[in-house]
Amino acid sequence: MKRIRISRCGSQLLAQPAHRRPTCPSAAAALQSNFTPHNYRIQSRPQSTAAAFSGSDLLNAQSEAESSGGARNRKPPPARAARTASTSPPQSIADLTKHRSPRPERAFGSAKLAALRSRLSLPQRFPLQSLARTLVHPSADADPDFNNSSLSILGANLLSYYTTEHLLCNYPRLPMPVVFAAQEAYIGPKALATIAGEWGIEAAAVPGEEVDPGLLQFDRLRSGDDVPAGLRHHEAPWKWNITVTHKILANDEFGSSTSNKNPQSLRGQAVPLEEAAQSFVRALIGSLHLHLGRPLVKRFFRDHFLSRHLDVDKLFDFRTPTRDLSRLCAREGFEPPVARLISETGRLSRHPVFIVGVYSGKDKLGEGAGSSLDEARFRAAAAALKGWYLYKPLEFTVPSSTEGEMDTSEWIPNLVDCGEVIV
């Protein structure tokens, strides 16, 4: 199996050629994440090292600590600093190592972890140490072997795959913005934070080695402070036309650019509770997949996520439903829609009620009630469009039902809709 090679480039820009470390941007993050410098040495000289050196001078500090005697020429490397600094501000060693998570062995002594495992009805073969690891956010422990960043990447992929196939097979004609909104409702940051709360997850006040492993550990953002850069809205250049198709390709599963793609980049920064809870739930799904396998993850997803009720019809927001409906009828070859007044009351009174139906030939596509003729007509057109977009087949099979199955006779091909109407 080929492994992903991190290209080694830019080593000629290093000040100390004796310690050849890759410094090209793609490797810098990986390096910093795997690099825990001599903790005991750094901690013995907190004033000199932590205050003086920034993240890009990590190598300088380490080499200075290692080299015994001999004055070395330390050329300040501004070019290297520019290259290694990614979107997050340079972090000092003190920032990255100020918090640590409890040792894995302490997981056996935690009543909270054992209670959580049985509360979620997970089998006994699911290790408590893995459960403890899912509760550690990168802001609480920068070392990727101890925090939940990789697990949460896997878990986010699994959650979004299962939710997408559920939505697209249940509602094959749903427009893309509504699919985004429904995804966010099922597995968005707020939803996952709510679910974590329902599971009884409590947060540690401050992360550290001595906290109970069953608490959610993260560096909490104080109220009034700025949200870290990784979680802030990324402004696109004004000339860009951010279309839905662009969001599908470039953004995350909710169509937003605000959510953090790289959990490890949040190490050393204070984050809100929502972000930490979201990372926990995702990491839990990831670790369930690795330890317990696909069928159990699917059952878990069905029990905890799909069991939540969502009114998909409330997610629609039409601007010009009459125009959309007329284009839809033209595309599908129906007769042009005509709005007709079905009944009315109190036309000259203060609160009239008009009931308008939209007809295509002899069929009534939708009906709406309103306090003015136009309002009723718009509501009728919106109801007609919802009737089209919310079509739901009676029987369907989701794509993941065929994974790992020998017998494919149960498979029912799903309806592939051509897309929402473009006006």
């Binding site: 199996m1 492994r3 893995s130 896997l154 992929n157 697209l168 790289n262 070859g333 007769e335 494919t408």
Partner: protein, 262 residues
């Protein structure tokens, strides 16, 4: 004649019971909206019946086309889009192997390679398919990275912490979002798509026909590649889509599978 009638009715009832006793075949659902309206479908009077019966991918719906063009033509040369089903079948065979053109049904075959910019979105587009396909490819990439050979471990000098080791978690250090972004970069995906000849059959409208790169062909190719995977997932199942992702997308990007691992 009176004697013939009972025989005829007996015959028709017998054949109808035979018909209902058959197991209902799972057929691919129609993408047209036959059951939505009981009124007759209305086509423009100027179009003949042959045009009215043509599939959706082949023509713009009659009532959505104006009788003459009012806007000026865009600057630059005209962009010609493929209309030949044989060329499309060839590309599918190149990508999906033998019988690759039979994996997807006719309408969906064209829908998967149709971008929203083509014909103003009037003949359908592959947004939803690309959304599902991207989720599948992303998950398969994560799983492939997990199964890859681990990077050389750098021992934490001076650290007395030992992480929890378990065979199931052995691939986790490989899984980082930088690694995934490097693999699923749109330019790399576009080069994979070009290898299959997708750039000659995708239906889209570039901003400038003489500068396809500047018009964003890489994004359109990546979208189409995702959409093909999504279409296979919806029509043939997740197992087939995962297989296509592994063999036809991840292998050209540098992954190799030594044994069958899901």
């Amino acid at each position: 004649m009176a004697s013939k009638r009972p025989l005829r009715t007996l015959y028709t009832t017998a054949s109808s019971t035979l018909r209902t006793a058959q197991v209902p075949r799972r057929s691919f659902p129609e993408t047209a909206a036959c059951a939505f309206s009981t009124s007759k479908a209305v086509r423009g009077p100027e179009y003949d019946t042959e045009a009215a019966d043509r599939p959706r991918w082949q023509q713009t719906p009659a009532r959505m086309v104006a009788p003459f063009r009012t806007r000026p033509l865009p600057e630059g040369p005209q962009f010609k889009v493929n209309e030949d089903p044989r060329k499309l079948d060839d590309v599918y065979v190149r990508m999906l192997g033998e019988n690759g053109d039979k994996v997807l049904t006719g309408e969906v075959k064209w829908l998967a390679i149709t971008h929203k910019s083509f014909d103003h979105g009037r003949r359908g587009f592959n947004d939803r398919l690309a959304f599902l396909g991207r989720r599948i490819v992303s998950l398969q990439t994560s799983l492939a990275l997990l199964n890859a050979l681990p990077l050389p471990t750098r021992p934490l000098e001076g650290s007395d912490r030992v992480p929890f080791k378990h065979p199931a978690l052995s691939g986790l250090p490989n899984l980082s979002s930088e690694a995934k972004d490097n693999v699923l970069d749109k330019h790399r995906l576009a080069s994979v798509a070009q290898r299959y000849g997708l750039d000659r059959v995708i239906r889209w409208k570039p901003r400038r026909a003489d500068n396809l790169q500047g018009s964003g062909i890489d994004a359109v190719l990546s979208t189409s590649l995702y959409a093909i995977v999504g279409a296979i997932a919806l029509e043939r199942g997740g197992e087939a889509a995962n297989k296509v992702t592994r063999d036809k997308i991840l292998v050209p990007l540098g992954f190799t599978w030594l044994s069958d691992a899901s």
